[in-house]
């Protein structure tokens, strides 16, 4: 029993197993939320927080619930980025991102890139023929190429970003301390460092619209540039990829809702928002208490490691009626898929624009009669959750 366990009044949920969470976390979340929305879960070494109210409170109280977690595997895998800092240090890094990921730059600079990339990868996907996997064949390269351009990695390919992202994320989740996982994460980390080192002098001499140019010319120290770029590679690729797959899968499984969206294009945004609520691409993120605190009916000691389970908060019946259903016609309510407070996702508008405004309408227009196949679609994950495979057919 750890010190944290000894001083808490939170119950222990011995029955939660990582394999089950990976397979389908939602029945587990439901039971946790009903039994105790804050519970010590030995299998993951954290208190999991599963109610909307408690997750929301944590997001809005960064003094009590610090992002600067001790022994963070993310810090080891990627360095110390803004995502694991508290204000004011966090704010210094975040301010350096400037206007790059904000709506005006998206409209003036990035939307054209999203459109070009959607057309390019749609063309390649169509060439694969019916039966192809939309997850690996379209969603992944589309999200990776968008991110490569926004970040300014002119000396890398989208395939590099996919590899960097996956191996460093695997490091972030390497609780088993597998040396091979660390080796791959370290190799990617070194490749990213080299790519950045090559670009710094170029962007100092000739700034452009990219994120790397913004941080270099804002005078961010090189260690912070490296860590923040790695975090953004890890946090800006899989999430738009996964929500794209989830949205397509959900619409293809609910033909009445798909017909509604096809008849009224303003509903693409609604379908996107419902897809991120229904399957939050970042299902859980960590926080650590800075003092003893009462939350969700339990008392937690200072230093307690928490998992803020957005995937569970987004299906809390106290917040959403019939929460397990995908329903674009539900009452509009705020969800937590993009986090909240100081760390509210910096890429929210990039994701909304690239997926809801560009990719989804182009996919359904460019692949008439789009439908699921006999080979079933598969999804997985809980810390990150999305499609693993999405075979589709078209006319």
């Amino acid at each position: 029993m750890t010190a944290a366990e000894a001083e808490t009044t939170a119950p222990t949920a011995e029955w939660v197993r990582i394999e089950d969470l990976y397979e389908n976390p939602y029945p587990i979340y439901r039971r946790l939320r009903e039994e105790s929305p804050v519970a010590w879960v030995p299998a993951v070494g954290r208190y999991l927080v599963t109610s909307f109210e408690a997750c929301h409170r944590i997001e809005q109280d960064a003094e009590t619930f610090s992002a600067n977690e001790e022994g963070s595997l993310m810090k080891r895998s990627m360095g110390h980025s803004m995502l694991r800092k508290d204000d004011p240090d966090h704010q210094t890094d975040r301010a350096a991102y400037g206007p790059v990921l904000r709506p005006k730059a998206i409209k003036e600079t990035w939307t054209a890139a999203f459109e070009k990339n959607a057309e390019k990868y749609l063309e390649e996907f169509r060439a694969k023929g019916p039966g192809a996997d939309l997850h690996l064949g379209f969603a992944a390269p589309f999200a990776a190429e968008n991110l490569r351009e926004i970040m300014g990695f002119r000396n890398a390919a989208q395939e590099d970003l996919q590899r960097w992202s996956q191996t460093m994320i695997d490091g972030t989740g390497n609780y088993a301390d597998d040396p091979e996982v660390w080796a791959k994460a370290a190799a990617s980390s070194a490749e990213v460092d080299a790519a950045i080192d090559e670009l710094v002098p170029v962007l100092k001499a000739e700034p452009d619209a990219s994120l790397l140019s913004a941080v270099v010319n804002a005078g961010m120290p090189i260690e912070a540039i490296r860590a923040n770029m790695k975090m953004t590679i890890g946090g800006g690729l899989n999430e738009p990829r996964d929500v794209l797959g989830t949205a397509v899968w959900a619409l293809l499984s609910h033909s009445d809702q798909l017909a509604q969206v096809l008849a009224e294009p303003a509903l693409w945004a609604t379908a996107f928002e419902e897809a991120v609520r229904w399957v939050a691409p970042i299902g859980m993120y960590p926080r650590q208490t800075t003092r003893e605190v009462e939350i969700g009916g339990a008392t937690l000691p200072a230093g307690a490691r928490l998992g803020v389970v957005l995937g569970a908060a987004n299906r809390d019946p106290e917040q959403f009626e019939n929460p397990e259903a995908f329903d674009i016609n539900r009452e509009k309510k705020p969800h937590l898929a993009f986090g909240g407070g100081a760390h509210f996702c910096a890429g929210t508008w990039v994701a909304r624009t690239s997926v809801a405004q560009v990719a989804l309408p182009k996919l359904f227009a460019g692949l008439p009669g789009l439908r699921l196949t006999d080979r079933p679609a598969r999804e997985g994950g809980w810390v990150f959750r999305g499609m693993l495979e999405l075979p589709v057919a078209w006319n």
Binding site: Q60, R102, P103, K104, P334, G340, G341, F344
Partner: protein
């Protein structure tokens, strides 16, 4: 202490005491005023703290900067050319009171 009054779409009013620097968003979120979400914590990034400032309260508010301006293009309820503001970007300042209307939707 200055006051901020929130008028809901159904006409219901609530008046809160707020220090001169406390934003319209922060005061509302702390008190649980319905219809003001403030998801990004005041970074002009989420557009869920949109309010319509009452005509009598408009004078003397700080100018709308670029970040607020682009975010006001992303609000759920339509933008009013004169009266729309982000609640996280305005506070009472030197005035004794501020009156805002809460839009019908924020998401």
């Amino acid at each position: 202490m200055p006051t901020i009054t929130y008028i809901q779409p159904d006409g219901a009013e609530l008046t809160l005491d707020a220090s001169p620097e406390t934003s319209v968003m922060r005061a509302a979120v702390n008190a649980g005023v319905p219809g003001i979400v403030g998801e990004c914590g005041g970074q002009a990034m989420c557009a869920t703290c949109h309010v319509y400032v009452s005509p009598n309260s408009l004078e003397g508010l700080p100018e709308i900067n670029d970040e607020e301006d682009e975010m006001l293009e992303c609000t759920s309820a339509p933008r009013d050319p004169e009266r729309s503001r982000l609640g996280c970007q305005i506070s009472c300042g030197p005035r004794a009171s501020l009156v805002v209307e809460v839009p019908a939707g924020q998401v």
